[in-house]
């Protein structure tokens, strides 16, 4: 145990850093995608609703590992071989991983955001509109601030899931924590210790994230009692 930590500690920490980088990039774009598709699904416009529904339906219906392979291997193959743009196009594991996480997490975020907006009483929108406020202004000033408060626990949950989901991207060779741990295990043959250490590392990171999230949640609820 001690030997693994002293010899491979740095390597595992670096890998953890990459895990967090990938999670951060994925979450960042997931928030943007989630916001876009979440808003599309609440608009009073059939075409927008359908686009959003299809996005959520497809992404939620495909296992993330399939999505990862599809993006990492499938998309370059499509561009190079099927569409015939020659052999030059490749995606790095980080790029493919980011897209994969963003799409996957984005679909769930879209659902969280849709549900959050719809949980705000319709009367709030009507009151805003009746004062002469435009739709988007009412959305931004009145609906979203209330919706976000109800969304936060679900969003935090989704963030945590996404941090853990980065481990799936070891399959396309992104050198995050799980991939590094596999190497450590191969070098040392100490399966129990290696995976115990990795498990604890994930636990620590998730604990810190949960704590930060709690702080944010408390801050957002300040002054409002409902």
């Amino acid at each position: 145990m001690v030997k693994i930590i002293t010899v491979y500690g740095n390597m595992l920490l670096t890998a953890m850093g990459r895990t967090l980088l990938l999670a951060f990039l994925g979450l960042f774009f997931a928030c943007i995608l989630g916001m876009i598709f979440g808003l599309l699904s609440v608009l009073k416009n059939k075409a927008c609703n359908i686009i959003s529904n299809i996005f959520v339906f497809v992404i939620r219906g495909v296992p993330m590992i399939v999505l990862a392979f599809f993006i990492y291997f499938g998309i370059p193959y499509l561009i190079n071989n099927i569409l015939g743009f020659g052999g030059g196009f490749t995606l790095s594991a980080l790029q493919a991983g980011t897209v994969c996480l963003a799409l996957n997490c984005g679909a769930y975020m879209a659902e969280i955001i849709r549900a959050g907006i719809q949980s705000v009483d319709i009367g709030q929108m009507e009151a805003g509109r009746s004062l002469g406020l435009p739709y988007w202004k009412t959305m931004r000033k009145i609906i979203l601030p209330q919706a976000i408060r109800t969304m936060i626990p679900s969003i935090i949950n989704q963030f945590i899931i996404t941090v853990k989901d980065t481990s799936i991207l070891s399959v396309i060779g992104f050198p995050e924590l799980v991939l590094a741990a596999k190497q450590v295990q191969a070098n040392t043959f100490k399966a129990f210790e290696t995976w115990a250490i990795v498990g604890i590392m994930y636990l620590i990171v998730i604990t810190i994230l949960s704590y930060l999230a709690k702080l944010v949640e408390r801050r957002m609820n300040r002054g409002i009692n409902r």
Partner: protein, 248 residues
Amino acid sequence: MESTDKKIKIKVDKLRKCFGDLEVLKDISTEITEGEVVVILGPSGSGKSTFLRCLNRLEDATAGTIIVDDIDITAKKVNMNKVRENIGMVFQHFNLFNNMNVLDNLMLAPLELKKADKKEARARAEEMLKRVDLLEKADSYPSQLSGGQKQRVAIARALCMKPDIMLFDEPTSALDPEMVGEVLAVMKQLAADGMTMVIVTHEIGFAREVADRVIFMDGGYIVEEGTPQEVILNPKEPRTISFLNKVL
């Protein structure tokens, strides 16, 4: 409608409204003049709330025209936000913005729509709060107010936009009985100040006292209209009579 020299504020002509297969408003025509207080009575499901909501286009008319201050608001291209600035609305469930305190509730629309700078908006908001006797609640959140207080704040919020028409959609129906009076008192004062008001309510006593005209609706039609004296005390239509017998 007494004097003919008064300006017509709202003119409704052959209004129809359907929700899918359900025809809620079948054929509504009426005119509301400046400063008039019109109370709409009728059994639930008669279309009175829908009618009111058509007047500021919270519901789109299926057919017919509604002209507010010479603007046809049933036209496709009309700038509804501009028209709504002039029509205040008070809802049964208050619909105060839960994420803001009372003062911000009042100041939001005037500030966002550039009707006033911060100082003016604040002064106006405080003036309106004083008018509904709730200045001491300026920093409270809606969740800290009683129903009657919420509704008075909602009226003050609408007034901050300086509307010249006010719509009331069952403003006292969600209130505890002991709070109805304080809201009606504010509305009476507003009527006395000459505001054009259209009020959907079940408060027959209030209608008798304050209304210039009472409209009785049933089944998507205006069944009977006239002064409170005519409609409430001497109804002619059997449906009006049976309704009033039930509620009085």
